[in-house]
Amino acid sequence: MRNPVLLHKTASQVQQELEACIGCNECLLACPALDEPLTIDVLNRETFGGPISAPVARFARSCYQCGACVPPCPVGLHRDAMMMWLKIRLYRSGEED
């Protein structure tokens, strides 16, 4: 089992990873939890700031951090850490009810 401590990246690291994302959608194509159309532009935009739309919130809740999104990334980013950040934002926003 993976050490859960390692799933999380710092705010600055998540921001840096979001910037380095080239938008190829490979992570979303590999995701077993995504069950509705969602594009990477919306996901990236809402991961770190601003309002969280309903589809992104649903996706963040359904993400179970399996890590399937990490190996396909051509630039070696960690979508799981970004999703964790999104989950935290969602939690903070009180929308997790």
Partner: protein, 607 residues
């Protein structure tokens, strides 16, 4: 056409013929990722500035690296957008569909193709790059079927042609050529790949790595010709039927794709009334300032000094363009504190079915440096070390390592002695390493008893002396502070004075301040973001009056600090995009954090 939030049909570009405005505080030429990133960044600093992007591109900003996925049909055009539709409108960025012909730097205006002038307060040139076409004297270069792949239109063109292509020739020895080869292979096309040099990516790969990539690509069915150039393209009735190489070989094909690199679009530099220095790109300093006042340059067109060679050269890569866009936005709005250095070169991509990572300068050989290589686990790693420091890392393998973490290790010059084996074998867990570095610091604090020797903080200090508790829960620390848990970095000097009273002079920010006083002065630090919510400490519920009680501000306050905060002089943290109206996770009290910081400094001072 796309729709805004209200569902109204909105024109793609505002005022295509007659711009509704004739000047803006910030004018950006080019709506590539550097231009748009700069605009959004500038907006985050200047809520009231008038920002305009002038571009003759007929589509919104797209993720250009994703065009290779578009080429193989994995993505639709809509999935290429870099930002959600309506972002420009939401950020109040004027989009003007026009071509900029020249710059009148003396009168601070640009001249559009229709002859009208558009004034600027600050100008950002982000005109990007254009593909290097095949040599103009090359016979047959204008036959139908000879393409370059750079813009969306090129890829649309390619996709329309695919059904007629059985054999294709790809010219070029870079990552783009490699991606193109793999894309064509995906469609069942037999690809002939012509590489001028003996190795692939000679600036990034050594011979071993290059051969490893090429061998796998050969196995996939591609015919690779190294040390081979095209000396002519043969056509029949206007359309390409083959190429002739310098080895007098004729290769039949219905498509020729030239992936021979890009060059910066410097036409505006040539058409500027003041000398805007340019060679291979428009020359800029480390803060993206050009040789003309109030003109900044970012993205593929900017030529930055390479610290190793001293040469000015563009860094035509996606991540570099995003970083430069951010820096340009901060510089133009005068927020130099938000500027962070670019660090070492970083490039990560797929080469065939292998993941390539290039960080720092693994192929250089400065004095005192030594190289370690490893070819286990079906991959290849090349480490360039100088003493205990890693200065270059090249990796090739089935899995991409944590690429940005390795960049961080090189950028921050972290010692790698303990992790050398992992790095070399390709089994290095960067996150574990970085997490442990923090954990050790905390463990030291606990086990050494230093934590207990300091007077425990009292909650009332923060409450009593910080008049604005709600915004104060937000991280306002500077970007540099993100790394402050590393003991070797200076900490206290960088901390922002956050009190609402007169700004403290830097020398008065005491290193050994009594813990009790530290609370109000530094109520916010960044390391709480560094702590995992899965370490066992559950996040605290939002404090009263924040978060849940304010649904209007809660979700929409993502990035922009409020005006009063700016006026207070607090240095904003670019990374802390988290919601300011919501409390951060208050696991450490301010005074506890101050203790950590003081301890770190003490350790630093002792070395």
């Amino acid at each position: 056409m796309r729709q805004d939030h209200a569902g109204h049909r909105a024109p793609l570009f505002k005022g295509a013929e007659q711009p509704s405005i004739d000047r803006a505080d910030i004018v950006i030429v080019g709506n590539g990722i550097a231009g748009l990133t700069a605009a959004i960044q500038a907006r985050s600093f200047e809520p009231d500035a008038r920002i305009a992007i002038i571009s003759d591109q007929n589509h919104p900003t797209i993720n250009t690296p994703a065009l290779k996925q578009f080429a193989v049909g994995k993505l639709t055009r809509e999935q290429l957008l870099a930002y959600p539709p309506g972002t420009e409108r939401q950020e109040r960025i004027h989009l003007i569909h026009a071509r900029v012909e020249k710059i009148n730097a003396q009168s601070k205006s640009v001249i559009l193709a229709n002859g009208s002038a558009f004034g600027y307060g600050a100008l950002l040139v982000a005109t990007g790059s254009t593909p290097t076409a095949l040599p103009s004297q090359l016979p047959g270069r204008d036959f139908d079927g000879v393409l370059t792949l750079h813009r969306l239109q090129d890829y649309l063109d390619l996709r329309r042609r695919l059904s007629e292509v059985e054999e294709a020739v790809v010219i070029g020895g870079g990552a783009h050529a490699c991606e193109t080869v793999m894309g064509l292979l995906h469609w069942g096309i037999h690809v002939h790949w012509l590489i001028r040099s003996a190795v692939l990516l000679p600036r990034m790969l050594d011979e071993t790595a290059s051969e490893m990539v090429l061998e796998r690509i050969r196995q996939a069915g591609v015919t690779v010709y190294t040390s081979t150039e095209v000396i002519g393209i043969v056509g029949r009735v206007g359309s390409v039927i083959g190429v002739v190489t310098n080895h007098q070989q004729f290769i039949p094909c219905q498509l020729v794709v030239a992936c021979t690199g890009t060059k910066p679009v410097t036409t505006l530099a040539k058409h500027c009334d003041l000398p805007l220095k340019h060679e291979n790109g428009i020359l800029v300093d480390d803060h993206l300032r050009s040789s003309v006042r109030d003109i900044y340059v970012a993205g593929d067109v900017a030529a930055l000094k390479n610290p190793l060679t001293g040469q000015y050269e563009p860094r035509a890569q996606w991540y570099a363009a995003v970083e430069q866009g951010r820096m340009a936005g901060a510089m133009i709005t005068g927020h130099r504190e938000a500027v962070r250095p670019f660090g070492v070169p970083w490039h990560a991509t797929h080469l065939g079915d292998l993941s390539m990572l290039y960080v720092g300068n693994p192929l250089q050989s400065p004095s005192g440096a030594y190289v370690l290589t490893d070819t286990s686990r079906g991959g290849y790693r090349r480490l360039l070390l100088q003493g205990e420091r890693l200065i270059g890392y090249l990796s090739l393998g089935p899995m991409q390592p944590d690429s940005l973490a390795i960049k961080r290790i090189i950028d921050e010059e972290l010692p790698v002695r303990d992790i050398l084996k992992g790095l070399l074998k390709g089994e290095f867990d960067a996150r574990q390493y970085l997490t442990r570095r923090r954990t050790y610091t905390a463990q030291d604090l606990v086990t050494s008893g230093r934590l207990a020797s300091v007077k425990p903080p009292t909650v009332q200090t923060a409450a009593q002396t910080t008049p604005e508790p709600a915004p104060a829960t937000r991280s306002l620390a500077p970007a540099a502070e993100a790394a402050q848990l590393e003991p070797r970095l200076p900490t206290t000097e960088q901390l922002p004075p956050l009190s609402t009273g007169p700004v403290l002079a830097p020398q008065r920010a005491p290193v050994a301040a009594p813990a009790g006083n530290a609370g109000p002065r530094y109520p916010i630090v960044h390391e709480e973001e560094e702590i995992s919510p899965f370490t066992g400490t559950l996040p605290a519920l939002p404090e009263q009056g924040q978060g849940r009680g304010q649904p209007g501000t809660r979700l929409n306050s993502g990035s922009l600090p409020s005006r009063p905060e700016q006026e207070r002089g607090g240095r904003r943290n670019l990374w802390a995009y988290s919601d300011p109206a919501l409390p951060a996770f208050p696991r450490q009290s301010p005074a506890q954090r101050q203790q950590v910081r003081a301890y770190n400094e003490q350790r630093e001072g002792g070395r």
